[in-house]
Amino acid sequence: MVFFETFFIPFLKKIDGKQPLFSEQKIRIINLFKVTVIIKRRPSILDPQGKAVEKGAAHLGLKNIKDTRIGKFIEFTVDTDDQQTAEEEVKDYCIKLLSNPIMEDYEYSLEKVS
């Protein structure tokens, strides 16, 4: 017990007016948006990766697989309460970094999480 008081209590209680090293976290209602983005290569752009993978399908004996195209699936959260702000940031992220508008299209969906 002495050991507990000496070593653990100081972490939990204010001592001499100082903040404890660990305190109960402030409870707040967290509103954020969970976002999923799909990046697809434009139909006019060749997808050699898709073609190569499709060859694997043929080797597997799958005879009816066609038009394999490989894209990207990205998910993240946006820490804001405001849907408009969230959408603006998501679009910026998609246009300027996640996709290359010259060869790729993007689509996204937002889901509010509380």
Binding site: I45, L46, P48, Q49, A52, K72, L97, L98, N100, M103
Partner: protein, 232 residues
């Protein structure tokens, strides 16, 4: 004004030291490394974006490096007419930054290709290519997995009309055909320049063919061309 090269170092660059070595030890020019988190070009008047795998090639080659702090200074420098060469991954960064038109796809073969290739110089009227001989052929190595240059027809027409295609993959005799295309690049394009003629992007590595010990030195012609024509 004397020439001073600045070689940018991104996390994942791996030809930065090749470029530095070629310029310092072989061509005996003034050269400095520029860390990607800096803004200061340290008085460099020729910028080299070297080859490698900046940011692990995550997302798309060059996509993340394009937002490194030093790129703002380089874009400003380039827009004022400063000389910039992007080699391999550096070329991909220039495309992502919008300093050159087009995109880079995976090699048609899906394989990483590492070998010496011949280039036919299609435009000898640039500061980078003035010293290339009248036979127009140079031999330099390539080493990339995504060097399959692509642009839409309108962009290609503009590149042709403005004489912006600088290098094409060719045979040793200068024959440009699919047979000598190592990666599927449209029109066998290996290097292009911007309209103003101060930003060159090329997939082949001139810095890797400068040292006579390696028995290939054609890459030196490009750097010497810059040095010889820098003040003009």
């Amino acid at each position: 004004m004397t020439a001073k090269f600045g070689v940018v170092v991104f996390p994942g660059s791996n030809c930065d030291h090749d470029a530095y070595y070629a310029l310092k030890k072989i061509l005996h020019t003034d050269v400095t490394f520029l860390w990607h988190k800096e803004n200061d070009l340290q008085g460099s008047n020729i910028i080299i974006l070297p080859g490698g795998f900046s940011y692990g090639d995550y997302l798309r080659c060059g996509a993340i490096a394009r937002f490194s702090p030093i790129m703002n200074s380089i874009i400003e420098f380039a827009n004022k007419g400063g000389l910039v060469i992007g080699i391999c991954n550096g070329f991909q960064i220039l495309l992502e930054a919008g300093l050159l038109p087009g995109i880079m796809l995976k090699n048609k073969s899906l394989q990483f290709v590492c070998k010496d290739v011949y280039l036919s110089t299609e435009n000898r009227d640039t500061i980078f290519t003035k010293d290339i001989g009248t036979d127009k052929i140079i031999k330099v190595p390539i080493a990339h997995g995504e060097g399959n240059y692509f642009a839409d027809e309108e962009t290609l027409k503009s590149l042709i009309d403005n004489n912006q295609i600088v290098f094409k993959y060719s045979s040793g005799n200068g024959e440009v055909s699919e047979e000598f295309n190592p990666n599927g690049s449209v029109l066998n394009i290996a290097g292009i320049i911007n309209k103003k003629g101060n930003i060159l992007g090329m997939m082949p590595h001139p810095e890797r063919s400068t040292d006579p010990v390696l028995n290939k030195t054609d890459g030196s012609i490009i750097f010497n061309s810059i040095l010889n024509n820098f003040l003009n």
